[in-house]
Amino acid sequence: MARALWSGSLSFGLVNVPVQLVTAARDLDLHFHQLHERDNVRIEQRRFCSEEDVEVAWEEVAHSYDLDGKQVVLTDDELGSVEPRKTRTIEIEAFVELADVDPIYFDHPYFLVPAGEAEGTIRAYRLLVEVMTRTERVALGRFVMRAKEYLAAVRVRDGALELTTMRFADEVRPTKPIPTGKAKAKSKAVENAVSIIEELTTEWKPEGCTDCYRERLERVIRKKRKGGTVKPPEPERQPKPAPDLMAALERTLDGVRKGAGIEKVRAETANGDGDELEGLSKGELAERAKDAGIEGRSKMSKKELAEALEDA
């Protein structure tokens, strides 16, 4: 199981459940290192004093805050003195309805797992899972991790207690100042748009969405390692809004009602005659052929690729 990032107790009234915190999100990104171009040696970041031009060890670093133009310097110990007292407890302060908490407040997800095998611990943990599942409630509480106090939401996911750190109210920007144009949408236009959306609605299946960026990056790295060259594709041009919004909605709705996928509706209408493939380079065609699952593409000429894609 994942490494515990924090351990303490989840406190609910006078019930304390010893728990450990493990992450609920894996970082699968490919990470790069900064290298010195000349010798491929990994760059190190080092701290230097701007006055004396000498390297400064981490223990000699203090923290400075600009208070109305005055520099206030705090040491680690001084900062430590304001850490809240109960650093090992997540105290549940309130239960709220899950549906009332907009996900915009959720920051990082973790799981809480029972600490140790003691029967009482496991039973208390299960009691919380059961009661929160039944009531569809999420518990709000605070806890301190790595010298910072967090507001956290504890809820049930997959039969386990998930803890998500939360943003504070003033960390979520108001929507009011965002320009919306305040245009009045014609009801017929909205009806058509809703119908298009309904035609295109599927069940949410996260497994169906793969990280294409990660896959492409892996491909680029493999190709480059073998000594190949990689060129970025020409980015798609930004389309202009349709001159007649209603007509665009109606034609889209027609297309999707006939069962055409939305990409096809778009491709057919974007250029009228559907030969958008003409302007693409061989590499781009090969890329699309790969996405379309066309076999034998590596042996095809540019023309053959375009034909195979048209038939696909």
Partner: protein
């Protein structure tokens, strides 16, 4: 004053093109400090050093390398990283829609607001349709040379866009290996605990929760600025109760009082 947009682009669904601007929906308000040398209060500068020659390296001489084996790096140029971002440019195609409430919030990573650009009508139609249908549009978004999976939904009077975690990045409850067996909570315990939940039931009002840690750090800064001596107090630990039923009962009677 209108906030500053960080990107502009176009959302499409079918033939409908919606020009939009992108805004950050969240910002951290944690107190941030500059690193200084404790001895003289002088600002710390970070220097990039090549350990081989122990010399500072200029930004122009630094490249991005991916470690494929120990000490073996594949160096990628900016263009090669761009190639991985795909060819979508500044266009977000919404190709399918899902019931917005079906997406578990664990998938949401960062939130942006979308504002209208140039023309208000397409924006208004998309907003109204998302709101009425209670659906979220799923698409891909290229930003700073990387591609994200996004969910686009109506939020109040604006359209919000969440970048999403991929399914293999989300740990499921089944991965946790929770202990099995043992005695289940008794009906009485469930009843008492439910009562306790009811007593602590509130409407969610985010403004009730202040970042007290942030406030106390700011207070500390002010005290220090006045030349106050800072008391370096010790922390204390809570105790764990053993008797579940007794603890629940005591909590209930405490809440009543």
């Amino acid at each position: 004053m209108a906030p500053r947009s960080i990107w502009n682009g176009t959302i499409t669904f079918g033939m409908v093109n919606v020009p939009i601007k992108l805004y950050s929906a969240t910002e951290s308000k944690s107190v941030s400090f500059h690193e200084v040398h404790a001895k003289d209060g002088a600002r710390i500068r970070h220097r990039k050093i090549c350990p081989k020659h122990d010399k500072e390296v200029k930004a122009d001489d630094i490249v991005k390398g991916y470690e494929v084996a120990e000490d073996e790096y594949v160096v990628l140029t900016k263009d090669e990283v761009k190639a991985a971002a795909g060819d979508r440019g500044k266009v977000i195609h919404l190709e399918e829609f899902v019931d917005a409430s079906e997406i578990d919030p664990v998938f949401f990573e960062k939130t942006y607001y979308l504002g209208m650009r140039d023309e208000g009508e397409p924006y208004a139609v998309l907003h109204a349709a998302l709101k009425r249908s209670e659906r979220a549009g799923i698409g891909r978004f290229s930003f700073h040379d990387r591609e994200y999976l996004v969910a686009v939904r109506a939020l109040d009077d604006v359209i919000a866009m969440h970048t999403m975690r991929f399914h293999d990045e989300v740990v499921s409850g089944g991965d946790l290996d929770l202990p099995k067996g043992g005695r289940k909570p008794s009906a009485d315990e469930v009843k008492m605990a439910s009562k306790l939940v009811d007593m602590l039931e509130r409407d969610f009002d985010p403004s009730e929760y202040e970042d007290t840690y942030r406030a106390s750090v700011l207070d500390l800064i002010k005290r220090k600025a006045k030349g106050e001596e800072i008391d370096l107090a010790a922390q204390e630990e809570p105790e764990h109760g053993d008797d579940l039923a007794a603890a629940l009962e005591a909590s209930l009677s405490g809440s009543k009082g």
